[in-house]
């Protein structure tokens, strides 16, 4: 039971490898490779978020701010100071980690709602700063001219190339996180979710675990933000607002936050919903997101990854 189930991971990796070829051959899904880049970027955030929420049981409603910190750090350092994008990414991740530590250390000691509200408030403040500090961030107009990435001297100049870069990173992060969950650290996280008092009594430093996971999730969001900035070559504040934090929440709730697979599935479905499928509903979009979130919370508390269990339960009856 402490083994990674290798087959699903292999199938998943194979799917990722052949997807762009399929998209190339099937006209109906020709532009899906581009969308899949976004799915990958969002996966990085949702994997961290599901570890934080589903496993450690802590709520963050400000994940968009860490995404923004990553994006703005790379954008500023590359456009203003000509720093190498890869170094910028590391700086962005370090910055997000620092901010997460400062924000999380006090609020994670408190329980329940407090981290939710602290991250929510923090997210809104960061959004306001992006908008108001026009001299640095370009204000509502944002920052343009962010250079693309180069890898081993090759310029990444197509959606396919970014696709492979982003998804290589996602699979790496995915495996790392799964290992983590199946180790003692993951066990401690699930224990914290079940009972903080008992975890403490078993020698688990609850505050330390919570802060580490929060920092991990912030680092992943920041990395995602940097990748986004280099892929788009342009950013503005509206990408990093409260509604994006909520959208991330919908992703992991829909996929199921008690399993890392849920983060991937949720990111995939919600991204395709918002990029492709929801256009038919126009103004109903917001209501549909709300309904998805509510119905999942009520009827599928374990998200879509919990569906097989429910079916098995029915089968037994």
């Amino acid at each position: 039971m402490l083994q990674i189930r290798k087959l699903p991971v292999a199938v998943f990796a194979l799917f990722i490898v052949i997807f762009p070829w399929a998209a190339y051959l099937i006209p109906a899904i020709k532009n899906y490779t581009g969308i899949m880049v976004f799915v990958g970027v969002y996966c990085l955030i949702t994997i961290g978020l599901s570890l934080l929420m589903g496993y450690a049981g802590q709520i963050s409603l400000g994940q968009a701010s860490f995404y923004g910190i990553g994006a703005y750090t790379t954008a500023l350092l590359t456009t203003r100071f000509g720093v190498d994008p890869w170094i910028c990414m590391l700086i962005g991740m370090a910055a997000a980690a620092g901010v997460a530590f400062l924000l999380g250390a006090p609020s994670l000691k408190l329980r329940g709602h407090y981290l939710a509200m602290a991250t929510l408030a923090f997210g809104v403040i960061v959004f306001i700063v992006f908008n108001e500090e026009t001299g640095v961030t370009g204000g509502p107009d944002g920052l343009a001219g962010i250079p693309g990435l180069r890898l081993f001297g090759f310029k990444l100049n197509s959606a396919e190339k970014y696709y492979y870069l982003v998804w290589t990173i996602v699979i790496g992060v995915f495996l790392f996180t799964i290992n983590l969950i199946q180790s003692g650290a993951g066990r401690a996280l699930r224990a914290i979710h079940a009972s903080e008092a008992a975890s403490n009594a078993m020698g688990v430093d609850v505050s330390r675990y919570k802060i580490i996971v929060f920092i991990y999730s912030a680092i992943l969001a920041s990395l995602a933000g940097s990748l986004y900035a280099h892929y788009m070559n342009f950013i503005n504040p509206s990408t990093f607002d409260l509604s994006f934090s909520i959208k991330l929440l919908i992703m992991i709730a829909l996929g199921g936050m008690h399993e890392i697979w849920g983060a991937v599935i949720g990111a995939f479905l919600i991204t395709f919903l918002s990029f492709e499928w929801l256009h038919y509903f126009k103004d109903f979009e917001i209501v549909i997101y709300g309904l998805i979130l509510l119905l999942v919370t009520i009827f599928l508390p374990d998200g879509l990854v919990g569906v097989p269990n429910i079916l098995r339960g029915w089968g037994r009856r």
């Binding site: 809104v124 306001i128 709300g290």
Partner: protein
């Protein structure tokens, strides 16, 4: 244009702050009523305010209903929304936890906001001020009569709430649920009904806040989230669960926002309240009038 002295300017900020603060105080009261009975932070609290403003605007300004019936009907309709929120989003949850309950209220707030956008569109709506827009001049400060209505309504709401929770049997029963739901149900109090009632009551107060603030700041479908966050700021500042704290917190927060945007930067108007919220969470999470022992004992 006549030059306004610094003193009158400060007075102006103070009065604006009290007015805005009264609205935050009402949102905060709504949070606390629900929290005290259920320990849920209802993030849809701001949507009640938004609905109050928009429904009243349609009934009174667009359809021409007289002010008093329109007022009452608006409050009744929003109260129903509050009750529906409890019945459709909160009660059906089978494994309630802080996490799922917060998510459910977020979902509800998105749905309400979405329907508001479908119904009213994205444009702001206005309401005529209750007693005209002829400003009153006091010591060089300009006061809209509506400001006084807002502050007056806060006083009325506080008096009514105090009487309700101190004197009425239902109010006492709700307080009993807050102290100990199991014991309350043992002595025959219908806890589910009390939860429903707390949502309805919070919605009603939210509706009142929305109605009285719309003549000052207009109302749009997407104002709820920010109102909720700031109202929660007031809750935390005053101390989670404390009614006097909610009022104090609301008024302090409104004043900080008013002075901050007047004296420091208007672009950061929305940030001041949130910075205060973070500062309180970090340095005095029990708030001004809250009790940390109590918050530790609470289940969540």
């Amino acid at each position: 244009m006549e030059k306004i002295s610094l003193a009158s300017q400060l007075l102006q900020y103070l009065i604006t702050g009290l007015t805005v603060g009264s609205i935050y105080a009402m949102v905060a009261l709504g949070f606390n009523i629900i929290y005290n009975v259920t320990e849920i932070i209802n993030l849809a609290q701001g949507e009640f305010v938004m609905l109050g403003g928009l429904i009243m605007s349609s009934l009174h300004a667009s359809l021409g209903a007289p002010i008093l019936p329109a007022f009452i009907l608006t409050v009744v309709l929003v109260t129903l929304v509050g009750a529906l929120l409890d019945r459709l989003a909160i009660q059906p949850i089978r494994r309630p936890s802080v996490l799922t309950l917060i998510i459910a209220t977020i979902a509800a707030s998105i749905i309400i906001k979405g329907f508001a956008m479908l119904g009213w569109g994205k444009n702001p709506y206005d309401l005529p001020a209750f007693s005209g827009r002829e400003p009153i001049h006091i010591l060089g400060a300009i006061i809209q009569p509506q400001y006084l209505w807002v502050i007056g309504f806060l006083v009325v709401v506080v008096i009514v709430m105090t009487l309700f929770f101190e004197k009425s049997i239902t109010g006492k029963a709700m307080r009993a649920c807050a102290d100990n739901p199991n014991a309350a149900s043992l002595v025959g109090i219908n806890v589910k009904r009390m939860v429903l009632l707390s949502f309805s009551l919070s919605a009603a107060i939210g509706a009142v806040a929305g109605i009285i603030v719309t003549p000052i700041s207009l109302m749009t479908y997407d104002r709820g989230a920010m109102l909720a966050v700031k109202g929660f700021g007031a809750v935390v500042l005053g101390g989670l669960g404390s009614f006097p704290g909610a009022i104090l917190g609301g008024i302090i927060l409104g004043s900080i926002e008013s002075f901050g945007s007047g004296l420091i930067s208007s672009g950061y108007k929305d940030a001041f309240a949130l910075i205060v919220l973070l500062a309180v969470l970090f340095f005095k999470p029990s708030g001004l009038l809250g009790n940390i022992e109590v918050s530790k004992i609470k289940r969540f």
